[in-house]
Every structure is written in C-alpha cells, then in structure tokens.
C-alpha cells in the first residue's frame, strides 16, 4: 500500500474506532442509569408528590395555517393529566381559518391582558380567553415562525415551567407527571428531555406497558436506530450532565432559564437543540450548578417515517440543526468551568458528529475507488468493510441488550429476534444511506453558510 492509501485507511479506522468507542462508553454510562431505575422501581412514586408543591406547567401550542388540526391539538393538550397547568395557543399569523376555528370551538373572547414582552417577538395582536376552559388562552400574533411563536407563548406564560407541544410527536397523557420529576427532585434542573420512541400505529402513546413491533422492516430499522442513538447515547451524556444534542421530542423547560437565555432563535432549524446547547454554555460560563435531565421512561412517541423521502427529510433536518447549534455556540469550547461539556461532549458533537458523515461517505467512496484501481489490496478492503459492519452491529446490539434489560418494551422472543435481524440488516445499506443524506445536508448547510 502506498503512503496516501495507508493514510486514508488509518484516518477512517481512527474515526470508526473513536466514534463507536464513544458510543459504547456512553451505553455503559447509560447502564448505571438503567440499573438505578430497576433498583428503584419498587419505590417508584413513593411517597407520592404533594400536588400543592408540584410546579405548575404552561403548555404552549404553536399553530400556523393549521385550521384542520388545531382544535384537536388543543383538545389533546387540555386533556393532559397534571395537577395544575394552562394551555397557551399561539396563532402565528395564520392565513387560513385557524383563529376562527379556535374561536368557535373554545368560545374565545378578546381579553384586555397586559402582555409582558420578556423575550423579543413579533407584535402580538390580541389575547383571547376561553369561556369554556379557564386554563386556555390564545395569543394572536404576526407571523414570525415556530421559534417566535414559542417565545410569544413563553412571554404569555404565567407558570414556572413550560413545554411546547409539537404535532410530530405525542406525549402520553400522564407524561407531564413523569417529566416534572427531575424538577421536583432537583431545583437546579433547567430542562428535562424525553427520549423519543417509535409507535407504529399511534396506540403506544395511550398507555404504559409493552409495545407492538411494526410489521415493516423499514420501521424496525428506525426503532433500532432510535434505541442506539437518541435513547442510550443521550442517557449516557445525561449521566455526565452533558446532553447537548437533544431534539425531536418533548422537553420541559424552566421558564426563567429560557428568558435569561433570550428564548428560542428563529434562524435555527432545530431551535430546541440550539437553546439547550446555549443553556449549557451560559450556565457553564456562570459556574453555577445546573442539570439538563433526560427522562428515560417511554412517554413520548412518534410514528416512524413512512417513506424514504420522509426519513431523508428527518435526518437532514437533524444534521443541519446539529451543525447550526454547534456553530452558533462555538464559544462553548473555550468556556471557563466547561468541564466534560467543553472537553468531551462539544468536541465530539461538533467535530465527529457534525463532520462524521463526510468522513464516512468520502472514505467509503475513496476506498472503493482505490480498490477498483487496485491501489488497495482486496483483503484489506474486505477487512475494512467487515470492521465497519462489526462495529455498527456491536453498538446496535449493545442498545438492544440495554433495552431488553431495562424498559422491556418488546419483551417477547419473536420481538427480540426481529430487532436483532434489523440490527444486522441496518448495516447493509440503511446506515450508509442515512450517512449519505446527512452528508448531503452538511454540504447544503455549508453552502448556505458561505
């Protein structure tokens, strides 16, 4: 092998070992969280929380041109099971009948409420109160985007915690009770994130207990992917209080912390990921103790992507969101008291996760080209592919073992076997395809940035 060929091979090898090694390390850290959970299961909810001392929650529903679904979304929010909460619906300058439908369904009337503009947002036109539900208000504002709408919800909120619901996922009806526990148990908690689970037919979100596996292999591949990365990798980072790249699922925030951080940024594709990263940066810089918790219980569910196009859009969105969040908070790498966030989580996410797809795709293309040009011996090429497969399989299987030992959402033999098959198949094209999409997203982000 010539010098340049060996160099490419070594770079790829180092990348694969580091990335998968960190994943395995994070899975091992997640084991501790899972073990604690199993140990404490007999004491779960004991003694019960005294509802008078549980912090009340504002549920923000941002709606834009959503006349068809908005009433159902608000009804679902009002049906949440929690001791004290209010629902703030923000109509983000809809051009359809969103506001009219809301007005009619909930008997809204304009109310002379004094608006407190703590976070800058587009002008608010009117605030409505509902004659039917004392805990429902609707804010009608000029069009400004999702982040702007959520910020308007934060400004209108009367309670110390808030959550912005998203139509892409469903929070279990009693999910807020679980999600608030980190705040009850530790007042230094700034945000509590859920981990998204895949629900093939929309029934798992209704109740706790074992779930059904989807019939299609395509959906099962997404389940394995979700178990490996968002769930156990996130739990591992949370163990180090370094969960930065949280997105795509329910997050309960402490409102004063969000206001102090100046709210969500409208120029971010995944605004919650950027905000959580920024909160880490600000609180690390202040040197104050804080917690960004990850709740492992399966309380937040989403349907799997039904088509390749939908999956591609999801993965590209995540990749651009990650790139934006990391680029926007690059000071995190130099922040004082940065600890594990500065020295491990940020570099890993900023360099390896952000640019990893480029290394994977370009590396694979280069190696294949070198093999075809007979610059790389066949044995070395096959050995490399085998290693790529083995490491990917190892991390996926480790996630399945963890799931099997902890939450047992898929307890039956057949379910374990089908997930194990998905873990094998995942490495034969699915992961490479996702890496290619992420690489594509990275290129687009880079071009837009320039």
């Amino acid at each position: 092998m010539s010098g340049p060929v060996a160099f490419v091979l070594w770079v790829l090898l180092a990348y694969l070992v580091i990335v998968n090694g960190v994943y395995l390390l994070l899975h091992m850290l997640a084991v501790r969280t899972v073990r604690e959970k199993v140990t404490l299961r007999p004491l779960e909810g004991l003694p019960p929380v005294q509802t008078a001392l549980v912090p009340p929650v504002t549920v923000v529903v941002a709606a834009r041109d959503d006349a068809e679904h908005v009433v159902d979304r608000v009804r679902a929010a009002l049906a949440l099971d929690y001791p004290q909460f209010e629902v703030v619906v923000v109509n983000d300058g809809s051009r359809d009948a969103t506001l009219e439908h809301l007005r009619e369904a909930f008997a809204l009337e304009a109310f002379p409420e004094v608006y407190w503009r703590r976070v800058p947002v587009k002008p608010v036109r009117t605030i409505y109160h509902s004659r039917l539900h004392r805990n429902l208000r609707v804010v009608d504002k000029e069009r400004g985007g999702t982040a702007d709408a959520i910020n308007a919800g934060v400004n209108t909120s009367r309670y110390p915690l808030f959550i912005a619901l998203d139509p892409r996922w469903t929070l279990r009806r009693d999910g807020l009770r679980t999600l608030v526990e980190p705040f009850v148990d530790d007042p230094a908690t700034l945000a509590a994130c859920t981990t998204l689970r895949i629900d093939p037919d929309g029934t798992a979100a209704l109740e706790s207990g074992p779930a059904e596996l989807p019939r299609s292999l395509f959906s099962r591949l997404q389940i394995v992917e979700h178990l490996r990365e968002p769930l156990f990798v996130r739990l591992g980072w949370a163990r180090l209080n370094a969960a930065l790249a949280v997105s795509g699922s329910a997050i309960l925030f402490r409102k004063d912390a969000v206001v102090e951080s100046m709210g969500f940024r409208g120029d971010m594709l995944v605004e919650e990921m950027e905000l959580v990263t920024r909160m880490h940066k600000l609180w690390r810089a202040k040197g104050e103790r804080y917690v960004v918790a990850v709740v492992s219980d399966p309380i937040c569910w989403a349907r799997p992507a039904a088509t390749l196009g939908e999956l591609r859009a999801n993965r590209m969105r995540w990749q651009v969101g990650l790139a934006q969040a990391m680029a926007a908070n690059s000071e995190l790498f130099g922040v004082r008291h940065g600890g594990v966030v500065r020295w491990l989580a940020y570099p890993f996410l900023s360099w390896l996760e952000r640019f990893g797809p480029a290394v994977e795709v370009l590396g694979l293309v280069l190696l294949t080209a070198m093999f075809l040009l007979k610059l790389l011996p066949g044995l070395a090429f096959v050995a490399f592919l085998a290693l790529l497969f083995a490491l990917g399989f190892l991390v996926s299987m480790s996630a399945l073992v963890l799931e099997d030992a902890s939450f047992r959402l898929y307890p039956r033999w057949g379910q374990s076997a089908r997930l194990a098959i998905a873990a094998v198949v995942e490495n034969l094209g699915y992961r490479q395809l996702v890496a290619f999409w992420r690489f594509d997203a990275l290129l687009r982000w880079w071009q837009t940035r320039r």
Binding site: L40, A52, L53, V114, L394, W413, S416, A420
Partner: protein, 329 residues
C-alpha cells in the same frame, strides 16, 4: 463481539423469562398467604422464603402495606414476626446493595420496628439521597415526634430530599404532630433551607405557625424571611411592615407587600398600592392591581375612574386586566 451480544440477549432473555415464570408462581403463593394473613396471620401458610427471594418478598409485602389499613398492617407485620422475617430484614439494613437496603428500610418503617432505629438514623444522615430519604421516611413512621426531632437539621438542609414528596409525608402525619417541630425549625431560621421550612409550614396549625412567622417582620431584611412573614399578615396592626416592604429592592418582596396590602388594607393603603401599580415588574403591578380591587371600602366605579384617569398607561392597563379578570371569575 456482535454475535456474542446476540447470544447474550438470547441467554438473558431465556433466563429472565424463566425467572419471571418462577416468580409469578411464587408470588401467587405469597399473595394467597398474605391475603390469609390479612385475616389471620397465624393461620396463613407462608412458604419458606429463601435468601435470594427475600428482597423480592419484602418488596411485595411493602407494596401491600402501602395501601393497607392499620389493622391489616398489624396482622401482616405479625406474619413477618412469626416466620422470623423481621429479623432477617433488620440484618439486610447493613447490606451494601441499595436494592436490599431499600427493601429493608421500607419494611422496617412499615413494621414500626424500634430495633431498626439506630441503623435508620445512621442511614438518614449518611446515605445517598434516595437511601437517606427512605430512611427518614421510615423513621417518621416508627416514631414521628422523635424522628422530627432527629431530622430537624436535615429537613431544611438536605435539598436533595424532594420537598414535594416530603410535604406529602408531613401531610400524612397531620398538623398536631408536625406543628411543634416546624415551629422549632422556623425559630432556628436555618440558612440555607428556610424557604423549604416555610413551604412545609402550611401543613402545621396555621394559628401557631403564622404568629411565629409574623414575628419576623421587624427583625429581618432577608427577602425569603420577609416574603414568608408578609404572607402571614392577617391584621391591620401589621400593616406598617407591609408598607415598609413596598420599597424593598427585591421585587418578590414588593409583590408580597402588594398582596398583604390588598388582603388587610383599606382606603388608607391606596397611595401605597398606586405606587406599586407603577412598579417596573409585571408581577408586582399585577398583584397591586388585584390588591387595589380587594381594598375594603373602595367602590368599583371609583376603581374604574382611577383606571381612566391614570397617567401611567402600564398601571391603567394592568388595572383594566385585573377588573376584567374579576368580572370573568
């Protein structure tokens, strides 16, 4: 390696299923025995509990005790005594495993076992957040008054004991038990931790607690202390303190002052509330507006006139909101 993990899943899964089936069978027998014991502990046929099964049995027993009435709890306790399980649970308190300890701690609490006192006291002082809190809860079950005495320093200081859960324990114990220890803690004014005690104070006898807390009005400038004291104002005699607090640099104190003025004030307090209505902080203005509406002797048309004549638009708007909220209530 991946294949090894695959094999591990298969083996672990098989083991777990076998254990689950075995435990289900055993638990069925336990359940029958526990149901019999709830009626007659001496007639219950409890199978021998092996060392491995003991924590599991205690967890099942603890679960049953959480919802049992006094008489059933006593009978189920007798059952443990008859089979020597109480002794074994006591020995488990010194085990290293958190699971064993937690099962034993909870059982000792349910049994109201005085022999466990020293171990529980040690665990409540030196254990991690979960073990120490479980031990504190067990102590409070065994002898609430003595436990509150022992824990009177930990309750304010240990912010890793979830306040909302501690509050539910206080609520269960009842005002007659918790009032005096709460007074002791309040008089000590622990820093940090006073805010925790103040929040728990709502579970004591209000007439005794509020006189203590009101007594702080003239003796502290600490915002947390002042806020707690202002919340207890029931009498016009204390109004000078509320008027003094209306100028406090901390907005939460000014907000509490606005509430207190609205609660016991009358026309004479109108200037102070009007001043608070122009406060830069939204919440202070909000409570000042509501306080103003509550003022004794002030007619609605006078408030409406005040709103219309207000030169400060923030104050006028807030008064308008408060009036509308009152109409909607």
């Amino acid at each position: 390696m991946g294949l090894l993990l695959l094999a591990a899943i298969a083996v672990l899964g098989a083991l777990r299923r076998w254990r689950r089936r075995r435990m289900e069978a055993i638990e069925n027998r336990w359940r029958n025995a526990l149901s019999q014991a709830a009626e007659d502990p001496r007639g219950a046929a409890l199978p021998t509990i092996g060392t491995w099964d003991l924590p599991h049995f205690l967890e099942a027993w603890n679960r049953m005790l959480e919802s049992a009435d006094e008489q059933t709890a006593e009978r189920l306790g007798t059952l443990l005594g008859l089979h020597g399980i109480d002794e074994r649970a006591l020995r488990m308190l010194r085990k290293r495993s958190a699971r064993l300890r937690l099962a034993a701690i909870t059982a000792a609490g349910h049994l109201r076992e005085p022999r466990a006192w020293d171990d529980l006291e040690r665990l409540s002082q030196h254990g991690g957040p979960i073990v120490s809190f479980a031990a504190a809860r067990a102590l409070l079950r065994i002898d609430p008054r003595r436990a509150l005495d022992v824990l009177s320093h930990s309750i304010p200081a240990r912010d890793d004991w979830p306040l909302a859960r501690l509050a539910s324990v206080f609520e269960t114990l009842g005002p007659s038990v918790v009032t005096n220890p709460l007074i002791t803690m309040l008089l000590r004014r622990p820093r940090p931790g006073l805010d925790r005690v103040v929040k728990l104070a709502r579970f004591g006898q209000p007439e005794k607690i509020s006189s203590i807390v009101r007594g702080w009005l003239g003796s502290s400038t600490d915002p947390d202390v002042l806020m707690a004291a202002l919340a207890c104002i029931e009498d016009r005699a204390d109004l000078p303190w509320a008027l003094g607090a209306a100028d406090h640099p901390e907005w939460r104190v000014r907000m509490s002052a606005a509430r207190a003025l609205g609660k016991v004030g009358n026309r004479e307090e109108l200037p102070a509330l009007l001043q608070l209505l122009r406060d830069p902080v939204w919440w202070v203005r909000y409570h000042a507006a509501h306080g103003l509406i509550r003022l004794e002797g002030l007619e609605p048309h006078e408030i409406e006139a005040m709103r219309e004549g207000a030169r400060d638009s923030f104050a006028a708007d807030m008064l308008g909101q408060a009036l509308a909220e009152r109409r909607w209530a």
